[in-house]
Symmetry: C2
Subunit: 383 residues, 2 copies
């Protein structure tokens, strides 16, 4: 008898109540009977990406987190500051599943040949609600991992790899020849560095700590600038002159960094300018903000001429714009280089219940380099 | 004997010295002998647009302005703050002519039929160095003004009209259906309002004084929001819901206004949203900064999702991108509606020497609504 007819599986949920309370909990979900073109995946690895954490915590202040419930069925609550409740209006009262991507083993399959062919295979899936013990998904959503790969190997094979490749693709499509990346020692940053080293693309890595600088250099990074250096602006300008980078992807968002990058790009361009242009360099300079590690306001002095842009960048709209052929090409590259270019590392593997413990949240909630956790919804269970 | 063989004409020059001193003066320039395809225009009207004032003063602090020289040949000096000198590097030591556009009478012409046909005609020219008594330009740069037009009628027939039309054109090209404009009571703003009223385009006008609100409403503007109102954000959001505007052109640049517009656009879009999107509305929201009336830093809270952009917008790159056919179509419209849609008004007509008087600078240097001056380089001279 297939497991799906009688069993349920745990699923992590995030709920913000109209009164301003965030509640994280585990619920029992019936495992769906797969339709002909569907399979059921036992999820064994799903990363806590910053984008997942954004949905998980919403605008709650996690320093107010309180644990309740039992060890098996913990409940965690925290308070959303009133001034931030307006931004939460559209999700109030909805118990939301979390987890963009994950990997596991196919344990049940619909009647189609495509679905049946996946039985027993280790697959990766991009499809939401991955912080669940079982997920029923379309067979064509599954990426079969190369022989010998574990679910942990493939857990992060969509969001970070496609984001890093998407940045390089965006750089090319918009006519730039090299790029800048901030929070560059992150898992994503290391991936982007490996792509650029391999493909011979100029990359300026911006970090904020000396050990991150050392780490990236040991990984072959040629240009690493540290915002903590007293001569950061000069160093960044020199790296921009050397690479010719005129597009940046910024994970921090808040503060002055995005504007400083534009300022240094303009300074770099003017070093080679032939004549005075009252509106500054005519070369378009672009900063895409794709994260919000710094939650404060964004501030800049407009001392970089008129040929500039700043804006949001997100993976899914990019994939939509890029088209099916490009997406297919990028995914094939990820599968082929899963254990090299696109390898991810995690500081700890935790269960669904452990993900709701204040001690765990205090670590992975930092979204800092070296604090990335991997959820295994079936950790410690017989499989 | 043609005037060009023996005469010289006065020309206004702006010079920033390496030591940090701005010097404005008048120089005698020989009037060029026109080539076959050229004409000499006696300039009788040239506006002091914000873009001209930017080149004229550079980064100088005009509160330090000192007058010297004689009444006929005044010299005005002012100090460029040291922290702003880096931005002036490319123009240091260059005595630069000023004045983007102007109009006057063709007084000499080259041998070509096209040039000869312009003799005696009143024409408008976009070509720089218009704060000159005489300008030698290509015949095909001249726009012949309709019968009965004075040089003053045609003095501003390029920059403001093409900028206003360019905004509407950009709105359409980028897939928006209505637009927002700040500093909306300016000459340019009134022009844009007339275009939108005539063409039935939704326009949200943002001003900062009640009298500007009254003025725009008397000119048929339907949506006028005043930043001084305690409920400005609510009023702007309501106007954005009513018009569906998702693109803005901001003349102020500094401060919080550009970000507030994006915030209100997002709020307007979410009022009609059907389901929760963790990354905010998927509709792209754009603010183009085309001026710098507020010189301070630009600051915004990123509370408008990920589908947003901010950037510089300039007339000349737009015209280049739009292509010759579009530019021709826009110019024809300007000529046809010169005294209606595209009429400009000035608070005073001044000579070149008067343009260098501290009292005059104190007025037109404000770049404020109702303080626009028109330079007539041949004012008071026998013509």
């Amino acid at each position: 008898m297939p497991i799906t007819s009688t069993r349920t599986g745990l699923q992590l949920r995030s709920l913000i109540k109209p009164g301003g309370e965030l509640e994280l909990s585990l619920v029992e979900e019936p495992i769906a009977q797969p339709a002909a073109d569907e399979v059921v995946v036992r999820i064994e690895a799903s990363p806590l990406n910053p984008s997942d954490i954004g949905l998980l915590f919403g605008a709650a202040d996690m320093s107010t987190a309180k644990a309740a419930g039992t060890a098996d069925r913990p409940v965690l609550t925290a308070t959303v500051p009133e001034r931030l409740m307006a931004g939460m209006a559209a999700r109030l009262g909805q118990s939301m599943p979390v987890g963009n991507e994950g990997a596991g083993v196919v344990v049940d399959a619909g009647s189609s040949a495509e679905a049946q062919a996946l039985m027993g295979k280790t697959v990766a899936v991009l499809g939401g609600a991955m912080y669940s013990q079982y997920r029923c998904v379309k067979a064509d959503q599954c990426l079969v991992l190369p022989e010998g790969s574990t679910p942990a190997d493939g857990a992060s094979c969509f969001v970070n790899p496609l984001t890093a490749l998407g940045m390089v693709e965006t750089m090319r499509r918009e006519g730039h020849k090299a790029l800048v990346h901030t929070a560059a020692a992150s898992n994503l940053g290391q991936m982007l560095n490996r792509i650029c080293v391999k493909d011979g693309i100029g990359l300026v890595n911006i970090v904020r700590k000396p050990e991150q600088e050392t780490q990236l250099r040991s990984l072959g990074a040629k240009y690493v600038c540290n915002t903590a250096s007293p001569t950061f602006m000069d160093e960044l300008t020199a790296a921009l002159v050397a690479t010719g980078a005129t597009i940046a992807f910024d994970a921090t968002g808040g503060g002055k960094l995005a504007g400083q990058i534009l300022t240094c790009m303009e300074a770099a361009l003017n070093k080679t300018a032939k004549e005075y242009s009252r509106y500054g360099s005519t070369t378009h300079k672009q900063v895409y903000i794709y994260g919000g590690l710094e939650l404060g306001p964004t501030e800049f002095n407009r001392n970089f001429g008129m040929a500039w842009g700043m804006g949001g960048w997100l993976l899914f709209p990019f994939l939509q714009k890029a088209g099916a052929d490009t997406v297919q090409r990028l995914k094939q590259r990820v599968a082929a280089e899963l254990k090299t270019t696109f390898a991810s590392s995690y500081s700890k593997e935790i269960s669904l219940a452990e993900a709701l413990q204040p001690e765990a949240i205090a670590v992975y909630g930092q979204r800092a380099t070296g604090t990335k956790y991997l959820i295994n919804p079936n950790k410690g269970l017989k499989t």
